[in-house]
Amino acid sequence: MSYRPQNDRCYHCNEAFTEQGDWSIKIGGIERQMCCAGCLTVAQMLVDNQLADYYQFRTNAANKPESIIPEALQELESQQQSELIVPTIVTQDEKCHIDLAIEGMTCAACAWVIEKKLQRLNGVLSVKVNAVTRRAAIEWQENQLEVSQVVNEIHALGFKAYPYRETLKRDRFQVENRQWLLRIGVASLCTMQVMMISVGLYLGYGEDLNLEHQSFMRWVSALLALPVLLFAARPFLDGAWNSIRHGQLNIDVPVSLAISLAYCASIYTTLVGHEDVYFDSVCMFTLFLLVGRYLEHRSRFKMVMAGQHFQHWLPQQVQKYDSDERLHKVSLQSLIAGDHINVSEGEVIPVDGHLVYGVASIDQAFLTGEFAAAHKGKGDPLLAGSVNMETPIRVKVEKVGQETQWANLLRLQQQAEQQKPKSIGLLNSVARWFVLGVLLITISVAVYWWQVAPENVLPIVLSVLIISCPCALSLAAPTAITCATKRLGDLRVLVIDSDWIETLTKVKHIVFDKTGTLTEGKLSIKQRQTFAGYSESKVAAIVANLEQGGHHPIAVALSQLSDEKLIVNQRTWVTGGGCYGDVEGQVYYLGSWPWLKGECSLVEEREHYSGVYLVVNKTVIAHFEFDDSRRAGIEELIRELNRLEYRTHILSGDSAVTVAALAQQLGVSQSASEMTPQQKLDYITQLQQSSARVLMVGDGLNDAAVLAQADVSLAMGGGVTHAKESAGAILSSNQVADLTSIVSVAKLCKRIIKQNIIWAISYNLIAIPFAAVGWIPPWLAAIGMTLSSTFVLLNALRILNFENKGANQIDSQHLTKIHWMNT
């Protein structure tokens, strides 16, 4: 069914109502509320163009379009984007073709809407939007259309269009995907044919089957099974060969053995004797195994896709200093060496260059793997892909795009990733011994029957090999995890780490960040005071200018206080503390009391403090207190978590009073306040030392380290990019209250995996003796294996129907269609 946004939220993008104003529009006869002018504009346009069906078809909330920029600027943006798109147009026979990467698509309905809208443009010949790769292929009649019109239309819908660059992983996976499908297709077709012929052969046993006819049919079967063996079964054969070459035994070994043995023996039989042929077993066996492997591949693919979203890691739009020293937004591609750009704190540096002045804290985790920030001074080199931590910096551009270190690294990474990622942990440890056991059994069975009744050796050995094939076992985990990941997708959780679900079930401690996680993160000023004779407006102007450009919710709230422009010569942000800078010649400090006291030695000890204080010349001249609304359902969440015997924690950089009050209200076990990022990290590390697993839920810049350190981490969708990159999963709905459901799904997944494994192994253990004794012909063995795997699959599908009957059931999400593409 279509996506239904929650009550009390924007109908278009499902965000909370934060701006004052009434934006409503009638859609399908019902008045709907939007959260801002941007969403309203898009909705209006959809309605005006008879595209309101979008709201019917969509399976996900829309992306919130950037706030409405003045027409002129908007045009400029479109024009700039068109500029980078124009060179990529391919013209042939008076037809122009272009491939665009679309940003902001959240589900297939977005693709539909774009297609429909663009098709209406005069001159457009064809539009194909792929919702999986987010790629639009557009063809139009030369001279009848300007590419800027296309870009404008896309912008008007709330999306962004960029030239499509063959993103490595994404396209390679598409190619691999097709390979898989081809193998499965060939295997299916041949299986069907061979089985049809087998029917003829079986029916002929009782009757007098002409030897020539039988021979003919057998040869045809051999011919048909050949592509299955040589092409479709290739992954297994290669896998087994690789494994043996390294002196290892993996599951591919008995599988390849069974398939090859069956085939060769059957050929021999066809040439010589009267026994049965097993071409049908070869085909069916291969087919089913292929399907299992493909499922596994798909789930890995989905996870890679999910992570890939942030391999638009480098920002596409950059703030460049113009000759008049003002900041303009330009595209990344338009930068040339020598340009000066501004990189805000928390954002990724998009180019190779060096620091123009001042100091900076840079996270170069992508290079060194170390989270610890590197300190850079004036003139120090900076690399594309690293994250600017503390304060906005000015960078002089040296290398852009393909020439950067980062691009180099990506190429290397691409090559390195030809190797398969590790398979699900549970299986690996079992596999080796299992395979060894199977081979031993097979050999002893062969030896036994060779002495007793040699003509039974082949069918029995085949049956044993087929029946012992751990096909169901290898499907046990991937199917469950695929289904669990889909179900989590319904809860708007984007899982990136493959181990995330499993590790989640082992968690004992749950640590929450406060601002932005337990609370909405949109601060409003509750109270303000000025002292020492400063006027409100003066203070407002100082604070607004000082906090300009900051990302912390406090900075966002304060920067809107005044329109008066003052000259800020220098500005430094200290994460977890505050901000200081030179405004019109005076140095002001704005931050929390402990920071002002501790770091800046500006004030004395005081018992009660909250919010932030403005200080100049060691005098407190203003005080601001903020209101931050709690997210919905938090009380029930904590109650439920406590009931389930989790230890809950709140870690926050906020003042002790606020945090303690919140902790008390909610019933959280432990809380710690006024924490610096380092302290948060220490806290988590200490918890982990008692060998307890920790789940961290956070969103801000100061959570990134903790998110990476925790055993399991969940980043809020509304959080900072860096936090999202460091976490194992992202909660794009920001509804922390769903945590109980999420944990329940993970636990269910684990239970189902256990059930599947027990079933798979029991089946094998029970069936092998029967096969060894000779009671199971190979075709029956193949069927048994099929049924066993089907059982595992069906069991895993139960996860999809999971409904959390406990607290926090969110009604607006009655989901029957399981949909994948979040964010």
Partner: protein, 54 residues
């Protein structure tokens, strides 16, 4: 029964055609995105240029 001597080769030819078609659909990117095409047919507006879009 001798019919199988030409029936089966005929089947094989058809099979080869089927595989060829499979290859074509794969290369034509038909399996790349399975959700969007489902939506394409759902609206019933009066487009003049529908015929050009396959």
């Amino acid at each position: 029964m001798n019919a199988i001597y030409w029936l089966i080769p005929l089947t094989l030819i058809l099979l080869a055609v089927a595989v060829k078609i499979l290859l074509w659909t794969l290369n034509n990117e038909q399996y790349d995105d399975l959700e969007t095409p489902a939506l394409r047919i759902l609206s019933d507006d009066d487009e003049q240029d529908t015929l050009d879009h396959l």
